[in-house]
C-alpha cells in the first residue's frame, strides 16, 4: 500500500516536472529536465526503449538524449495529440528502477604527446599533474547517455568535476579519428576525423563507426564504458 502510494506520488512528480512540446509537426519532445544526470537519463532511456520495443502506429523512431526523448512520426498516419497520449500511456507504466547497463565495453586508450594534445591543459585547469588527471579519468565507468554530432559519436558522462575542463575557446578544424575528449562533465570519442572543440586526452584504435557493418556504431545509448590504458 505504502509502496503504491509512493509510486503514485512519484508518477505525479514526473508529470509536474516533465513537459511535452512539438518539435515541428512530425516530432514531439518529452523533457524530464535540463541537466546531465543519471536519473534523467535513465528515464529517457527507459521511455525510448518502451516506445521502440512497442511502437505506436505511425511512429518512426524514438531518440533518447541526456534528459529527453524525441519521438518522430509520420504525419500521414498519426498526429501530435495522438502521439502525446501514446507517450503518456508509456510513461504511466514505465519502470522506475534504474535500468541495468546493456553492456560494459572496454576501450583501449593510447596516451602520448601526439595523441593527447590537451592533457596539459586539463592538468593546469585541474591544478593536477598529468598522471593525476589520467588516474581520475580512468578510475570511472562512463555511461553512454546519447549519440549525436557524428555517426557513432557517444556522449558519455559523468566526468569527475575536478577534471571537467570546458571546451576549447577556438575549436580545431581537424580532430583525428579515434580521439577521446573531455568537455565539461562529458567525455566522447570522435568516430571520424572532424572539426571539434573538446580537450583531447587520448586516442583509441577501436573502430567506433563502420558503415559496412550491420551494426555500424560500436556504442549504443545505455552502454557503459571503461577506458583502459594501452
Amino acid at each position: 500500500m505504502l509502496r503504491s502510494c509512493a509510486f503514485c506520488a512519484l508518477l505525479r512528480l514526473f508529470f509536474i516536472l516533465m513537459r511535452i512540446f512539438p518539435l515541428g509537426d512530425s516530432a514531439a519532445t518529452i523533457e524530464f529536465g535540463n541537466e546531465i544526470s543519471a536519473g534523467f537519463n535513465s528515464r529517457s532511456l527507459s521511455l525510448a526503449k518502451a516506445l521502440s520495443s512497442n511502437p505506436f502506429a505511425g511512429m518512426n523512431e524514438a531518440v533518447p538524449a541526456y534528459a529527453s526523448v524525441t519521438v518522430y512520426f509520420n504525419t500521414r498516419s498519426t498526429q501530435f495529440e495522438t502521439v502525446k497520449s501514446e507517450i503518456a500511456t508509456r510513461l504511466s507504466s514505465l519502470p522506475t528502477d534504474k535500468p541495468n547497463a546493456l553492456r560494459i565495453i572496454e576501450i583501449p586508450i593510447l596516451i602520448s604527446a601526439k595523441t593527447s594534445p590537451d592533457l596539459d591543459r586539463v592538468g593546469s585547469f585541474a591544478h593536477l599533474t598529468v598522471d593525476q588527471v589520467l588516474e581520475i579519468f580512468l578510475s570511472k565507468i562512463y555511461r553512454v547517455h546519447m549519440l549525436g554530432f557524428l555517426p557513432g559519436f557517444a556522449y558519455m558522462a559523468e566526468v569527475d568535476d575536478r577534471i571537467a575542463a570546458p571546451r576549447l575557446v577556438t575549436p580545431r578544424t581537424k580532430v583525428p579519428k579515434g580521439s577521446i575528449g573531455i568537455a565539461g562533465r562529458q567525455t566522447g570519442i570522435y568516430p571520424l576525423e572532424s572539426p571539434g572543440g573538446w580537450n583531447i586526452i587520448g586516442r583509441t584504435d577501436l573502430q567506433m563507426f563502420d558503415p559496412e557493418s550491420d551494426n555500424p556504431c560500436l556504442l549504443k545509448p545505455g552502454d557503459e564504458v571503461r577506458f583502459v590504458r594501452e
Partner: protein, 314 residues
Amino acid sequence: MTLLIRKPGILTTVQDLGRTGYRLLGINPNGVMDRAAARLINILLGNDENDAVLEMHFPAAEMEFDTECSFAIGGAEFSAMLNDEPVRNWSTLNAFPSDILRFGKPELGTRAYLAVAGGFVVDEWLGSRSTNLVAAVGGFEGRKLKAGDRLELRSPRPVKPHTIAPSLIPKYSRFPTVRVIASGEFDLLTSIRERSFLNDGFTVTKDSNRMGFRLSGPPLHLLHSKEMVSAAVTFGTIQLIPDGQLIVLMADHQTVGGYPRIANVISADLPLLAQLGPGDGVSFHLVSVADAEQASAIFENDLCWLRTGIRLLG
C-alpha cells in the same frame, strides 16, 4: 544504360527522401532538401516517390544520355536545355542516345532535381539511397558526383507526356513567408523579441548549406539565458545561437543540438525554405500544430490525386 556526368556542377548528389530509424546512433536522415519537388517529379514519371533523384545546385551538372528514356526536372528553375533547346520543369521529357542536358542560368530557387523514369541504380545504406557526405556512404560512392561518373539507370523507359498542374507546384519565392510552430523555448522570447521574430524579415547568409541556414536579422534574446543540455532536433528546427541570430536546421543537420529551440518550420513549407540561397529573405508566421497538420494533409491529398491520375492515364 547510363547517365554520363560530363560536368559535375558545384554540388550534385544522389538523394531520396532520407534515412529513418538511426538518429539514436547519431546518423542523420539526409535526403533531398525540397521533398515536394522530388516527390512530384517521381510521381509524374510513375516512379516510387522515394526513388533516388539528383539534387543539383548552380552551376549544375551537364549530362549525356546513352539510351532512350523519360526524365523530369523540378525544384529550382535553372533554364534547362536538352541539346540546346529549352525544356520545361515539371513535365515529362524524352531523351535519346547522345542527348545532352545542361543548365543555363539560375532563374529562381537554389536546388534543382532530376529524376529518370525507372530510377537510378545507386548504393543503399541503412535503407536509403541518400548520400551521407560526412560518413561517405550511400548514393553514388558516398560522395558528390564528378566528371566521368556514370549513373546506371534501373529500367529506362519512355512514358506518356504529362505536366504537373501549376496548383500543385510549390509557390517558390526569394522572400517567402514560412509557417512555424512554437517549440521548446519560444515562450522565453521577450514579447518585443517575439514580435521581432514574427514581424521582421531575416536574410539567408552565405553560411548556409545542406546542414543549415544561418540567418541574419534583428538580434533576439531570451527573458533569461538558458544553458541547455543537448537534445534531438529535426529538419526545420530554428535555433537561437548565443549571438542572438538564428540557424534553421536543414536536411544534413546533426541529430542533436544544444541551443534554444524557438520554433520549427512546418513540413508543408520546408520546400519554400529549401529553395533559398544566400541573400534571399524569409519571414515567419506562427501557426498551430493543427494548422500545420492540415497544410500537410492538403498536399498529401493533392499528391494522391496526381498519383491516381498518372496511373489512370498510364
